[in-house]
Symmetry: C2
Subunit: 315 residues, 2 copies
């Protein structure tokens, strides 16, 4: 029941000795999702023992090299390693050209299908994919070119019936089924079986939002409201706010302001300008606005544990 | 007066945790040449403190991803770092498509010229570039697709006059000039100024040949005759000879046989299949044929020192 983020790259346009370009792997309940794919992603996946073959879906935020140049090597390695499972790629429309170029020039043999879902019709948070347990949203960001953020939310689980309620109210199977779906039931004798009293949510659904690259904009906090973890780019610090504006990026403070407004649980900073050898300033700047801020680093694993609710109180 | 090779990548098609795809930097007398450019080349250059901005010429052996996928990130970084110096790229004709694709899709601003020299007309060792001190040759290899090796040879230096000869024979400036060019001089009195006696070569010209990827073929040893250092791919070992044949690669033994026939001073193996976790077998196999064999590894520096000749004997 994992909900676990592994950071593969925290650099912005220019990588450094220790920082790779953008890439992250989100593992939810055994399913692997790759977020962006900067140069060296396949090597980083090997380094952190993440199976390339198990990646189900790739999400490309925008068509800038530092978020994309690893895709050629990754797809080649998947092809050479005999992948047959189809691969879904959610990316701006221009990615179609890139995929065609790759296939025309570099593929000797590829036994799996790549399905590209273009994102350019998306103007507000939209479900682009779902599994039994999660919904995946894309939403526009505010960058120099078309760019998209992604949000992963576990679906609201089916309610559990309180153990003591079944016997106490002699609940029938049919009544149990309806209560689990959240219905209140009026019995023929006029009594009420109150769903909110007889049931509880077995766990709190978890959520993650990935926002890179973007300048701040008004709607963003409301779109990612209350996520457990927000990754927000922090290319610059306060002293370079004008440069952030000019390049449609954010400062660490602006990332924190977004986190605060969105009421998220934790903020993860990344996409650091190569001019920052040390990142303490970025962290302090963000923490002065939003305390629960962390610096992303290569190899960092952020686990969002399942918060199980158990309800043993008597009614 | 350096003549120094730095190995950036020794993997073949599939990189491993420790092995990057093919790339090497050859530094000759302060000039930097990049040989192949697998994914992660720019990060490896940073790791080993090699300036990307100072690379004058790039040599791409063939259009397979593991020799090429780093070019996008490298060119992007050069562009963003404000490079203005033109960059020469020697690569098969198909590289033109790749360069156009890159410029059309990924370049916001690029203030340097890229000059692509296609190699496909080359059928035997041909000088493709020269500087004041060196000649650079390309020659065809024997791979699944058009592939080229490269050889760097210092030019034969101008001869030095033996110190004692000038006074002893009262050499005129004109005579000194002619002797330095290697001419024998008959004086009017009938005496001979014998160039081989009165001059010496100030140093022994150095040379390096890069051969990746290739199956063995008859002409290769004669084309790289006597180089100081030969890098020859050794994707497989003896037990996988059939696979080497089928994929147009070489075994470690075949690399060593080439080195032996060519009479090189040192052999460097690389381009290892990812199936080999340890490389001792490849080394032993090659050494059983050619003793002066070394295994290339990431970060390895192979320096070919200048062998100066001094001549202080009296004539």
């Amino acid at each position: 029941m994992d909900f676990k983020l592994t950071v593969l790259g925290t650099a912005s346009a220019l990588p450094t000795v220790n920082r790779y370009p953008s890439a992250q792997v989100l593992e939810i309940r055994g399913r692997l999702f790759l977020l962006d794919c900067g140069e060296g992603t396949q090597m980083q996946m090997r380094r952190y023992s993440i199976s390339m073959m198990k990646v189900e879906k790739i999400f490309i935020s925008h068509i800038h090299g530092d978020h994309l140049f690893g895709i050629f090597g990754l797809l080649s390695t998947m092809a050479m390693s005999g992948r047959t499972a189809p691969l879904e790629i959610y990316a701006p429309a221009q990615f179609a050209t890139i995929l065609s170029f790759f296939k025309a020039n570099f593929v000797e043999k590829m036994n799996f299908e790549t399905v590209h879902f273009p994102l350019n019709h998306i103007k507000s948070p939209t479900i682009i994919s779902e599994t039994r347990n999660i919904e995946i949203y894309a939403f526009p960001l505010n960058h120099r070119i078309a760019a998209y953020g992604f949000m992963f939310r576990e679906k609201t689980p089916q309610l559990n019936i309180r153990k003591d309620a079944i016997e106490r109210y002699s609940l029938s199977l049919q009544e149990i089924g309806r209560l689990k779906k959240g219905e209140n039931i009026y019995r023929e004798d006029g009594s009420l079986l109150d769903c909110s009293e007889l049931t509880y949510m077995p766990y709190v659904p978890r959520s993650y939002a990935y926002c890179s690259d973007t300048a701040p904009f008004e709607m963003l906090p409301s779109w990612i409201k209350g996520v457990d973890l927000l990754y927000h780019e922090a290319t610059f610090d306060d002293s370079l706010r004008e440069m952030a504006e000019a390049t449609y990026h954010s400062t660490a403070r602006q990332a924190a302001e977004c986190a605060l407004k969105a009421g998220v649980s934790n903020l993860l900073l990344g996409h650091y300008s190569s001019r920052f050898r040390f990142l303490d300033n970025l962290l302090e700047e963000a923490k002065s606005v939003f305390a629960d801020t962390l610096l992303a680093y290569e190899g960092m694993v952020f686990d969002i544990p399942l918060k199980k609710s158990t309800c043993n109180e008597n009614i």
